[in-house]
Symmetry: C2
Subunit: 340 residues, 2 copies
Amino acid sequence: MATIEDVARAAGVSASTVSYVLSGKRSISPPTRRRVEQAIAELGYRPHMGARALASNRTHVIGLMAPLRSGVDVSVIMQFVTGVVTRARGFEHDVLLLTQDDVGGLERVAAGSMVDAVVVMDVEADDPRIPVLGSLRQPTVLIGLPRDAGGLSCVDLDFEAVGALGARHLADTGHHDVALLGSPPEVMDRHTSYADRVVRGFTATASARGLAATVEPCGSSPAGAQQAVDAVLDRAPGTTGLVVHNERALPHVLAHLRERGRVVGHDTSVVAVCPADVALSQALPMTSIDIPAELIGSVAVEMVMARLEGEQPAETRLLAPVLTERASGTPGPAALPVTP
Amino acid sequence: MATIEDVARAAGVSASTVSYVLSGKRSISPPTRRRVEQAIAELGYRPHMGARALASNRTHVIGLMAPLRSGVDVSVIMQFVTGVVTRARGFEHDVLLLTQDDVGGLERVAAGSMVDAVVVMDVEADDPRIPVLGSLRQPTVLIGLPRDAGGLSCVDLDFEAVGALGARHLADTGHHDVALLGSPPEVMDRHTSYADRVVRGFTATASARGLAATVEPCGSSPAGAQQAVDAVLDRAPGTTGLVVHNERALPHVLAHLRERGRVVGHDTSVVAVCPADVALSQALPMTSIDIPAELIGSVAVEMVMARLEGEQPAETRLLAPVLTERASGTPGPAALPVTP
DNA sequence: CGCGATCGTCGAAGCGTTTCAACACGCTAG
DNA sequence: CTAGCGTGTTGAAACGCTTCGACGATCGCG
């Protein structure tokens, strides 16, 4: 491997000059710059990142902690990761991947100076990683909204607004009896931040609009979905509008609604909360509230990068949800007052 | 941050002694070792990985190139990644994540000595990354089976055996008219290695067993699945046994078979080729040939690690597929010779 | 015409490890 | 009693880069 010295020699300059050509931190005369650049090209020189990190205290790597256990909303996770990696590359950074359960890993890579900054996904209401993150010297951004961010920056979809938007849309299209099929029971019980927030937004807006609202957790398996649908339809048979916030259960919910004689998009409205591609790959194109996971990932990187330059104060950014109408929506009873 | 010098001072030894305690490359007397370990604990010392990489030429990081574009078999990809990261941690290594399209990234991280080794996922029959990988000084393992590995090591599920196993199972359970619903047309056309191999194994074994076999690409969308099912059933209405090798299309294939009056697990046998968790989360628990993605990922790491120590010759490992019978299988006509 | 400012370049001092050669010490064997 | 050996420890030299301070040259200006 060619070193900076080799390049310097080939270009007839000193190593520091080469370094300045590379970093642009000092002005270099055009002819010198040209000679250096040519030498770099000829030798195929690549700076040794370890040496660079040692000298400059910058690794050009950011750590990303992602929930790799398969199961929950895989495609959302992939999109987060894609957003993070892609945006990081835009800042000339690479991404070191940590698994969710490897809590010690955060301390390890941070204290070992393997990363310049850290992004953590899937943060829960009372996340045990928050104190750890607070003690790192690297800037940190959380994807998710913990109860107490402990002075850390956060970014997330505004899930409370998601719930509200779902309820509002159903109300606006004439539904009166509505239900939210939420996350799996275990997620609900864990009080994963987003699950609670959706419920809160949904029930608040439903009651403000005078709707009769039911909330039911919903397992991701066919059986779980069936059970949830049954629970809602048995308890409130008049339900005509549903918000479904469980990507994996969605197909099974649709299937079971059908089995119970409901025709989605005709006598029953379903609003899915999921990434657009998932909404489109159902049996019926779903009216949905998008989870812009890739965008959130890239915003997270931007925030963390900003903190890597100047000292920014902690900040929380909640992205406004957007609803797209597709085939699974239909006017509810109140929209057709004359029909019995 | 405490440095190795701080630790040395606190323990009353030299820096090199601390280094040897850490690496175990030289014997250290028990009392000294104890003092050093205590100093490390007290100071919360963590070696600076950049410095270590510079001095030792080992980063303790492996590069992983993964197809992050969401869409194709997300859960399989996640499981690969999980397998790689988890196993790498077992070897005290971390994982740097590269996206599939960032071909230059390979050269960048390798030449910049950011990684000790590279694992590349989703390798195609004629993959443009192979020549690049061949020129790296770091050991490399491909997940997938290119036409010409160019002297690189590979690991993959034996997809030819998968196709054969599917056909054999259907033959053994008495089916005569069988079909393979394969990957999406674009994947087939790209001659992605595994798609071709499944087809080859399936048709060869089917014809060896005297079956009438149809092969049909199958898009992942509801429409694509429907079309594929229609194509098979229209062309060969007597088909009673299906192998489906498309995780995303699977639910739609099942739904459409049902719409066409087929009762899977009763008059029609379906063997899914997919990870076990996907097989279990269908409307009906699927008889399936597992794609042990996590295992493959961890094997890839083991291979690359072996190459990091001694010089191993290139090697190709194909994992034997395993079929698990569940509810979607049923005896075919030949198994009931007396019934008309 | 001389003076200070500006520009481009350089030498050297780190950055925090690893590792090699060497050394001190206490033993054993001759 | 000493030569020789093994064991545990050390000092110093890398590793490849960044960056600070300094220096000579060039320039504008009074």
